[in-house]
Symmetry: none
Subunit: 378 residues, 2 copies
DNA sequence: TATATAGTTGAATCAGTCT
DNA sequence: TAGACTGATTCAACTATAT
């Protein structure tokens, strides 16, 4: 994978000086700072605005340790109206500096993304896709009160319906093993050595995004030499990936601590170093197929009897994918272990369905699900 | 572990006739039809509203065959304002008939889901999760101008912030091979024999949802016997799955063709038997057993020494079920917290009895009480 | 040095009942 | 209604320490 170099040829027909704001971080409120940029001067915008989380008291893990919540002042808003006004203001300011054929990405969670999306549409932006970032290692739901919040949503939009935006279809397809890139991206959180820490080992920013995410965003919707604006620059992930990919950046950030960290981070990079790119490529794994999927898919009905290969043990399937065998209840693995008096058991190969005397391991049905073939329905 | 029965016994203390609208499809506009239902009469709502698709002209595949897009007249709105007014109206009508502790699911795509989500919040609904349905076999993006649109978004919400909603956490966890269920659901489209076709082999409804999706929705947020409302009933996937899972349904639909198809589809079904509908319940569903009961039952004697799992902390049981450890006195939970210097502690899992070097959590004795096994008495 | 075990952590709108 | 009390609840990945 090769990368083109930055740089505008000095002899280009419309040559111009490199603007002084290019590859810098503007300090201040984003709406005010964006007034310093010329109209239609950036090719793409990546924005990670405050999510307006409305957290209650402290949350503790089952081991009693306290969750380090994002409770920073910049994430606090008095009401939805206040958040909407804020959102409308910065999206308008962005629209002025964005080129007519540029595009914008905004990331958010269910706390804010619906408001952002509706306001984007109200302001005349045209949504191209929503892309979901599926986290391979999200924080669990410790109290068991909801589904694990395992994704965030990105909206990709253009400032007008008929914009001729950049989309590197072939590059993305190659990147994705020659399959069209889908709207679901499986990537891990920003942890480990990539996560910026201060001298005391504390994270510098509560919500630093992984470079792998920005890598895909910039690769898909910008060209080398393009200018990428991030109005909520934070610790500069957008700038770091832009530099690695040979794109220009301009950031806006209010907090001096974040600016310092971002500046140091980006200055340490040399542009378009292929080696540096390697680490940004995320892992991708095939999704697991839990036993419950077979029931949903109609491959196994609640009430079905399962047996082991020798017919010694029997169990009945319940609606939630649990098995019952005598007094034993639980997952296919747990009940398989219990009926055998063993510590562990692979339920997929242990349990079988019977059809006319023919025993078939339930693992075979999992293969049907994985293959994507249509199932019979129930 | 018991299961509620379908239907209300006529002799029950607060007996009432089965409402005439139960398990029926109301024909007409959804706001008008919902006025026929009593206030706070449904436990859960699943809504698949029109998507407000704005397709400019026909879409063709590379081989020039026309894509059968969703261009039915019910899916056309003149503007975002019109769509918002429509959305506000039906979400308000739904809020009247939904029980205060019920919940609502709404499914949509990027065309409409941001407006729906923002209006839900504006109307005072409290979002619990957004759940993404990842399609294992989505329609490719034929023009290669965007990412393959491979998912739809569902919003799960309650009508007020402090609602005590139904969430079958343990059942879903069992369903998912003993891992808590996440907000990303990988499920195939509705195809094959499940997809309703007319005599000419054309699909009856353009956006028929897979039963697997509804199966998971109903399993997670309803109990057997609950009433599920679908204000955009279409060809009745919600009703079909509700019947299979021993839930009641009520649907609203404008098109007679859809009503006929849905009615025939549901009438052909018989509900699963009660045993198969039984689901895995968590500890919260079990009756409370005070620590003193173990003493009354003779499972533990006053004066017994308890220790933590590592033997670091010790305490003595007193006749009233309180513990003493140094200067600390109080319940198993309070003393457990005090000796560790923590705010809270689950005494049931913290304290252990010792027998020949073997440590056993006192929670095991609680299991004996709950199981109803005979104890030694006093 | 390699492997095993223990500890830490991540954008989180995270309890229910009785007095 | 506010406060006290009971007691339920976690997954993947990385880091530090121990063997």
């Amino acid at each position: 994978m090769s990368v083109q170099r930055i740089g505008v040829p000095l002899t280009a027909p419309h040559s111009f000086e490199k603007p002084d704001w290019l590859d810098t971080i503007l300090k201040g409120d984003c709406v005010a700072a964006l007034e310093k940029l010329p109209k239609h001067s950036v090719d793409m915008v990546f924005a990670d605005p405050p999510y307006n989380l409305q957290l209650g008291g402290d949350l503790h893990r089952p081991d009693q340790s306290r969750v380090d919540a994002c409770d920073d002042h910049w994430d606090q808003f008095d009401s939805f109206d206040a958040y909407d006004a804020f959102t409308r203001a910065w999206l308008l300011a962005v629209k002025r500096v964005l080129k007519p054929d540029g595009s914008i990405w905004v990331i958010g969670s269910y706390h804010n993304i619906f408001r952002v999306g509706a306001i984007l549409q109200d302001l005349g932006y045209w949504i191209l896709n929503d892309v979901v970032w599926l986290k391979s290692n999200p924080m669990p739901n410790f109290r068991g009160k909801r589904f694990t919040n395992a994704h965030e949503t990105m909206i990709w939009a253009v400032p007008r319906k008929d914009a001729k935006y950049t989309f590197n279809y072939e590059a993305l397809k190659t990147f994705n093993d020659d399959l069209q890139m889908r709207s679901d991206w499986h990537l891990p959180l920003c942890t480990g050595s990539e996560r910026l820490k201060d001298e005391d080992g504390r994270k510098v920013h509560p919500t630093q995004k992984p470079e792998s995410l920005l890598y895909r965003v910039l690769l898909s919707s910008t060209n080398p030499g393009d200018v990428v604006l991030d109005p909520f620059f934070g610790t500069g992930t957008t700038g770091a990936v832009a530099r690695k990919l040979g794109r220009h950046f301009v950031g806006v950030e209010r907090e001096q601590d974040y600016i310092d960290a971002a500046r140091a981070r980006i200055d340490a990079l040399s542009p378009a170093n292929d080696d540096a790119l390697e680490i940004t490529l995320g892992k991708r794994a095939a999704p697991r197929v839990p036993f419950g999927n077979l029931i949903e898919a109609g491959l196994i009905a609640p009430g079905t009897k399962l047996t082991c290969a020798r017919g010694r043990h029997q169990a009945t399937v319940r609606a939630d994918g649990s098995l019952v065998s005598g007094d034993h209840r639980g997952s296919i693995h747990k009940v398989g272990a219990l009926v055998q008096g063993q510590e562990a058991c692979n339920g997929w190969t242990f349990w079988h369905t019977e059809d006319g005397g023919l025993l078939t391991p339930i693992d075979n049905m999992r293969q049907i699900i994985r293959s994507g073939l249509p199932t019979s329905g129930r």
